[in-house]
Structures are given as structure tokens and as C-alpha cells.
């Protein structure tokens, strides 16, 4: 599997995430699509590192950072969704059009 085939795979995963982010209305569905995009970006770093960077592990370190930031993002997002659920009794993204009340 050469690098171009890896890139096709990664761009497909990212496009699927983009489609899900645009088409979903449930906030959890959008969150899962964003996870898909982050996952594709992390894989992209490792593939680039594997094929282009000689004697270096920078891409792997970046992937570690992406995983850590994704974990932090999901924790805050889930807290916001639970607050939303208790206030509006819904997980619909269209309910979240006001910062207050």
C-alpha cells in the first residue's frame, strides 16, 4: 500500500466525517462525526511521518496530542449536552440557538 492509497483512505474518512457533521441534527451524531474527522487527521500525521520524515517521530507525538485534545473536547461536549438535556429536554442542535435562556 503506497502513500497515495493511504491518503485516499484518509481523505475518504475525513469526507465522511464532514458529511455527518453537515447532515446530522442530534448533537451526539455531530460529536461522533467530529471524532471521525479527528481520527482521520491523526492517521494522516502518522502516515506522513512514516513515509516522508526520516529518523523522526514528530507525527506520532502529534497524534498523541490529538488523542488527548479529543478526550478533553468530548468531556466538555458531553457535559454541555447533559446540561442541554436538563434545560430543553432535547438533544436537537436546532434548540441551541441562544446563549442565554
Amino acid at each position: 500500500m503506497n502513500m497515495f492509497h493511504w491518503m485516499i483512505l484518509i481523505v475518504f474518512l475525513f469526507s465522511a466525517g464532514l458529511y455527518g457533521t453537515l447532515v446530522r441534527r442530534n448533537t451526539l451524531g455531530i460529536l461522533m462525526s467530529v471524532e471521525l474527522m479527528l481520527n482521520a487527521a491523526a492517521l494522516n500525521f502518522v502516515v506522513m511521518n512514516k513515509y516522508i520524515m526520516n529518523h523522526s517521530v514528530d507525527g506520532a507525538v502529534m497524534t498523541l496530542f490529538i488523542v488527548a485534545i479529543a478526550a478533553a473536547e468530548v468531556v466538555v461536549a458531553v457535559a454541555i449536552f447533559i446540561t442541554l438535556l436538563s434545560h430543553k429536554n432535547s438533544m436537537d442542535i436546532r434548540q441551541v440557538n441562544a446563549l442565554k435562556n
Binding site: L18, R25, K50, V61, A70, V78
Partner: protein, 199 residues
């Protein structure tokens, strides 16, 4: 047959699987099914990390993504009621626009990559993704180390943890107090009623 042939076959099979599962994640109506398909996509990604000889990242993918993030998402799905499990029908117009945007993005990036294909080597470069090398790079404070970023991300994790607790408990404590008071009053009334009945 050589070992490299086997790994190539495994890579292509898992690429096809990952593409199918990624499509199912965004296409299925049920949110719970979507989460299960997401687990399969993340598992395929862990296999890709093993194939790229980054075993540490595969382990972290399994532990943090599947063990942490997806479990959290499934937990929230179970907290919401059944009505939210199946998403309502999305209008055809929105579907077409979203499909057009993502397909345009896909074709654009692939065509740019195809034009610059001569930058892409066929054979992987030489490096060693073992945990000692990654840890050294992560904790090096001078030239091209990532110590500052590491520290900032630890602060970010702390801040997100505190933020999540504040968001979750700001209303929770108040309503809990009210609930407890309410239940105490109810039980008191019940006992009073029973006493009067006995008397």
C-alpha cells in the same frame, strides 16, 4: 509468499472495512448503531497503526478512544430517552447539499494530491516508533522537543475536567437539594397520615 504481501492484503481489506463503517456511521438513523460503527472504524484505525509499525499509538487508540471516548458517548446515549435514539427524517435537500460539499472536498483534495504525487515516496522512510523514542521526543525541553506543548495539554485536560464538573453540578446540586427536601416532606406526610389512621 512473503510477509509484506500479507500485510498489503490486510491493509487493503481493513481500508475497505474502514470506509464501509465510516459511511455507516454517518448514514444510519439510529444513534446507538452509529456509535457501534464508530467503534469498528476506530478498531480499523488501530490496525492501521499496527501496520504502520506504531504499536504504542495502536494501544493508546484502543485505551483512550474506544475505552474512554466511545464509552462516554454510549453512556450519554443511554441517559437520553428512547425518543432521541432514532433520528427524525432529514430533508432530501439537506442531504444533497451535504453530499455535494463533502464529495467536492474529496475530489478537490484527491486531485491536488494526484498532481503532487511525485513528492510521495513508495517506500517508507526509516524510523522507529517505539515508546522510548516517542517519550524522548515528548519530554525534550531543548531543540525540537515538545515539553511545553505537553505541559499546556496537561493544563487543558485539568481545565476541561473542572469545566465539565462545574457544568454538570451547577444545576445538579440545587435540584438534588430540592428533590431531597421534597422526598423528606412526602415521607413525613405519609407517616403522619399513617399515624392518624392508626389512631
Amino acid at each position: 509468499m512473503e510477509i509484506s504481501n500479507y500485510t498489503t492484503v490486510v491493509a487493503y481489506v481493513f481500508s475497505a472495512l474502514a470506509c464501509i463503517f465510516a459511511f455507516m456511521v454517518v448514514h444510519t438513523h439510529s444513534i446507538l448503531r452509529s456509535a457501534v460503527y464508530l467503534v469498528f472504524v476506530l478498531l480499523c484505525t488501530a490496525v492501521f497503526y499496527v501496520l504502520l509499525s506504531a504499536e504504542l499509538l495502536a494501544g493508546i487508540q484502543l485505551l483512550v478512544y474506544i475505552g474512554g471516548i466511545v464509552v462516554l458517548i454510549v453512556f450519554v446515549i443511554m441517559l437520553t430517552n428512547n425518543r432521541e435514539m432514532v433520528e427524525e427524517k432529514i430533508s432530501i435537500r439537506q442531504r444533497i447539499i451535504a453530499a455535494a460539499v463533502s464529495t467536492f472536498f474529496f475530489i478537490l483534495v484527491i486531485s491536488i494530491l494526484h498532481q503532487n504525487q511525485h513528492f510521495m515516496p513508495d517506500i517508507p522512510a526509516q524510523q522507529n516508533f517505539d515508546s522510548a523514542n516517542i517519550g524522548k521526543q515528548l519530554l525534550l525541553s531543548q531543540n525540537s522537543g515538545y515539553m511545553l506543548a505537553f505541559e499546556i495539554i496537561s493544563l487543558l485536560l485539568l481545565a476541561s475536567m473542572i469545566g465539565a464538573l462545574v457544568l454538570a453540578f451547577r444545576d445538579g446540586f440545587v435540584s438534588d437539594k430540592k428533590n431531597i427536601q421534597h422526598s423528606i416532606e412526602n415521607t413525613e406526610k405519609k407517616y403522619e397520615n399513617r399515624e392518624t389512621r392508626i389512631l
